[in-house]
């Protein structure tokens, strides 16, 4: 809490929630990359098709969406109680619960826990929360080597790259790029490696299996934390996550506080929604669940780190809080016409696409991500695709209303509103609009940002008379 009693945003200087440049500037770079455009177009079109087909099979998809939405709204309304219940149940089952107010605290807790084990290497399950807080960088600074074990996340890590999609972090890479990264960075790789996908997967498997068998600490995220049983759940497609969750002695899970769900039975809804909306699968391939510590089976030391890092601030906004309902399926990314063309890096945060455009600015405070709520044409495809019915377009509009505005835009908007509320003045402005033909179709001489229109689009020719002049004269 800050001195005013308002919950704090995610702190600056740590984590990956802020980009180096504004969205329009970063997008310009991405749009000029033909390889990226091709990869994204192919990948998003494929996932969209697959997901659409399996969703169409369910007669009760809309009811499931409503149920998911209602469960999340209930959870947010009861968050403090549910988190304390989760803590109590995890503790009773032999786990240790830690509360982290922000990224710095979470990184410190995890680093200290690993240091206590005396280990210098950890295996990691793909996790958005640990990407958000830049845990890998914090561990490396403390002399601990994190090894990502999700294939795509490994490609990102070996490529000294950043994830560009919530579910498919290396969506911006194709197989020949992956081959080059493996040849350059993977310890013990066969120099004759080709870009054949099974061969690439085989190389990663050989490397990862050795790592799994020789590492004694794992770090994971969590998809769900069930309050009434103290059970944590991770869903994944490769089985590498299951290795991390079962083989080591110590397991440390970093979970955003919004990932709590009230009861075991609620998974019935979410485990139907998530795989169909995200990967287009009917059932998730590897769903791992564990409750505290089981003697003689799996990790014997379990730590749960509950992460706030700005989430309480999001919860305080009654319109914006819906962003916390997200189950990280990435359906909104896959249907977004903006994401499909710019990719994830343009958003500057680990949370890209439409959900990122509403989540990142709320976690950091709008000033630090002021261009993100504008990174959308408000086409509404994300709202239709969201399995828990987050009204992303309305939240984008809500955040735009809070965003700092450029001074010239503010003046132009005020002048437009003033004119529009005075019909006589409005009519005079309509007649003046005919002067726009002086600019010609190409709009040469238009000031920024209007020259952005004229760069690729002709200006409409002004009509000889306005509609109202015609109406009066008929």
């Amino acid at each position: 809490m800050t001195f005013l009693g308002m919950p704090a945003h995610a702190p600056r200087g740590v984590g990956h929630l802020r980009g180096d440049e504004s969205f329009p500037a970063a997008a310009r770079t991405a749009l000029a990359n033909p390889q990226l455009r091709r990869n994204l177009q192919h990948a998003t079109t494929t996932i969209r098709g697959k997901s659409g087909r399996v969703i169409a099979e369910l007669p009760d998809w809309e009811e499931l969406r409503s149920a998911g939405s209602a469960l999340k709204a209930y959870t947010m309304a009861n968050l403090p109680r549910l988190l304390e219940q989760l803590e109590e149940k995890v503790t009773a089952a032999g786990g240790v619960v830690h509360w982290a107010a922000d990224a710095n605290e979470a990184n410190r807790i995890v680093t200290d826990l690993i240091k206590e084990t005396g280990e210098q290497r950890v295996i990691k399950i793909k996790s958005m929360a640990t990407q958000e807080i830049a845990l890998n960088e914090a561990l490396e600074a403390a002399g601990i080597t994190p090894v990502e074990t999700d294939l795509a996340e490994l490609i990102v890590q070996l490529g000294h790259d950043k994830p560009s999609h919530i579910l498919v972090p290396a969506i911006h890479r194709n197989r020949s790029e992956i081959r080059e990264i493996f040849l350059r960075e993977m310890p013990g790789v066969d120099p004759a490696l080709t870009d054949d996908p099974p061969e690439l997967a085989g190389a990663a498997r050989r490397y990862l299996r050795e790592t799994f068998l020789s590492t004694r600490v794992a770090v994971s995220g969590a998809n769900f934390g069930i309050a009434d049983t103290g059970t944590l759940a991770v869903v994944e497609s490769e089985g590498n996550g299951r290795m991390c969750l079962t083989l080591p002695d110590t397991l440390i899970t970093v979970m955003g506080i919004e990932k709590v769900v009230p009861s075991w039975q609620d998974l019935e809804v979410f485990l139907q929604l998530l795989p169909r909306a995200s990967t287009g699968e009917r059932m998730n391939p590897y769903t791992s669940m564990w409750t505290g510590v089981t003697p003689g089976d799996g990790p014997q030391n379990f730590h749960l780190v509950l992460l706030d890092n700005g989430r309480t601030a999001v919860l305080a906004d009654e319109v914006g809080r819906q962003a916390l309902h997200c189950i990280r399926c990435s359906a909104c990314l896959n249907v977004c016409p903006v994401y499909e063309r710019t990719g994830g890096h343009a958003y500057g945060s680990v949370y890209p696409g439409p959900i990122g455009a509403i989540l990142s600015p709320q976690l950091t405070g709008i000033e630090d991500n002021a261009s993100l709520p504008y990174a959308s044409s408000l086409c509404g495809a994300c709202f239709d695709a969201c399995p828990v019915k987050i009204d992303i377009p309305s939240i984008l509009v809500h955040l735009r209303n809070q965003a700092p505005h450029p001074r010239t835009e503010k003046a132009a908007m005020a002048a437009a509103a003033y004119t529009m509320d005075r019909p006589k003045l409005y009519e005079r402005a309509q007649r003046a609009a005919k002067l726009s033909k002086l600019l010609g179709k190409r709009g040469r001489g238009l000031p920024p940002p209007l020259n952005g229109w004229a760069a690729s689009r002709d200006l409409p020719a002004p009509p000889p008379e306005s509609f109202r002049d015609w109406w009066r004269g008929r």
């Binding site: 969205f23 329009p24 997008a27 310009r28 749009l31 455009r37 016409p337 903006v338 063309r341 710019t342 709520p373 504008y374 990174a375 959308s376 044409s377 408000l378 086409c379 509404g380 495809a381 709202f383 239709d384 309305s394 509009v397 735009r400 209303n401 809070q402 965003a403 505005h405 835009e409 503010k410 908007m413 005020a414 437009a416 509103a417 529009m420 509320d421 019909p423 409005y426 309509q430 609009a433 179709k441 190409r442 940002p449 209007l450 952005g452 229109w453 760069a455 690729s456 689009r457 002709d458 200006l459 409409p460 002004p462 009509p463 008379e465 306005s466 509609f467 109202r468 015609w470 109406w471």
Partner: protein, 244 residues
């Protein structure tokens, strides 16, 4: 029926043909059209750009202008979408509870053109004649905010002489998005490029839609590339007859 026309500021100022066509079409179908001159703009640009307080007088103006009318029609899915889904919210945010409920009432009587024709006037064959190869872009707000579904297509299918060709990836945004087109001009242009490619793939002479704004965008791109393909508002097609 006595129908009030909300022309929208864009059609009133830059695309009067769409508003004129709406009048001619409704009069041909035997209805009386009125045009209250106090009307200006619905305020959507202000709301969607983050200036809700400045949109408030425009919401108030819209409500005052059309409150006494039984039915209001606008040749724009986007403006009707804003009236229906944003006006009451803007009033409520400003603490004007009374205005919010009045706005809701007027919004409930405000229709986009294809909704008015198919749902209220219950007509699909409006007696139009338009001998051209035409493709239809559904526009995001007609499709996903108003849910007009296939109403515009049902109207177009009844137009004599019209060769209707399906637009590939029709439901993808053209990249306009109001001030998005200037704030994110590069991304907007990338989206427009794909939309234009699909329009050209159909071999149509005319691309139509229910929104002058999206048509201004697509048409601006098609003209810049000298494609020879025109954009024409749905109302203009429906208003055309053999006599015209």
């Amino acid at each position: 029926m006595r129908i009030a026309l909300f022309a929208t500021c864009l059609a009133d100022t830059m695309f009067p043909a769409a508003a004129k066509a709406t009048v001619q079409l409704l009069e041909r179908l035997g209805h009386e059209v009125v045009f209250p001159l106090e009307q200006t703009c619905c305020g959507q640009m202000h709301v969607n750009t983050g200036y809700q307080d400045q949109a408030l007088p425009l919401v108030r103006r819209y409500v005052r202008t059309f409150e006494a009318c039984d039915v209001v029609v606008a040749p724009s899915g986007s403006c009707v979408g804003s009236i229906r889904h944003q006006h009451a919210m803007v009033a409520r945010q400003a603490g004007e509870v009374g205005l919010a409920s009045r706005a809701e009432a007027v919004a409930g009587r405000t229709y986009e053109l294809s909704e008015l024709l198919v749902d209220v006037l219950e007509v699909e064959d409006v007696g139009a004649y338009y001998p051209h190869r035409v493709t239809y872009h559904p526009t995001c707000h007609s499709l996903r905010v108003l849910r007009v579904g296939d109403k515009p297509l049902r109207l177009l299918r009844q137009v004599r002489g019209l060769d209707l060709v399906e637009l590939p990836a029709a439901e993808q945004c053209c990249g306009f998005g109001g001030t998005f087109a200037v704030k994110n001009a590069d991304t907007s242009t990338a989206m427009l490029a794909d939309k234009m490619r699909h329009v050209l793939d159909t071999g149509a002479d005319v691309c139509t839609a229910g929104d002058a704004s999206c048509l201004m965008h697509i048409g601006g791109g098609l003209a810049r590339l000298r494609t020879g393909v025109r954009t024409v508002h749905l109302a203009e097609i429906l208003a055309s007859t053999e006599a015209s």
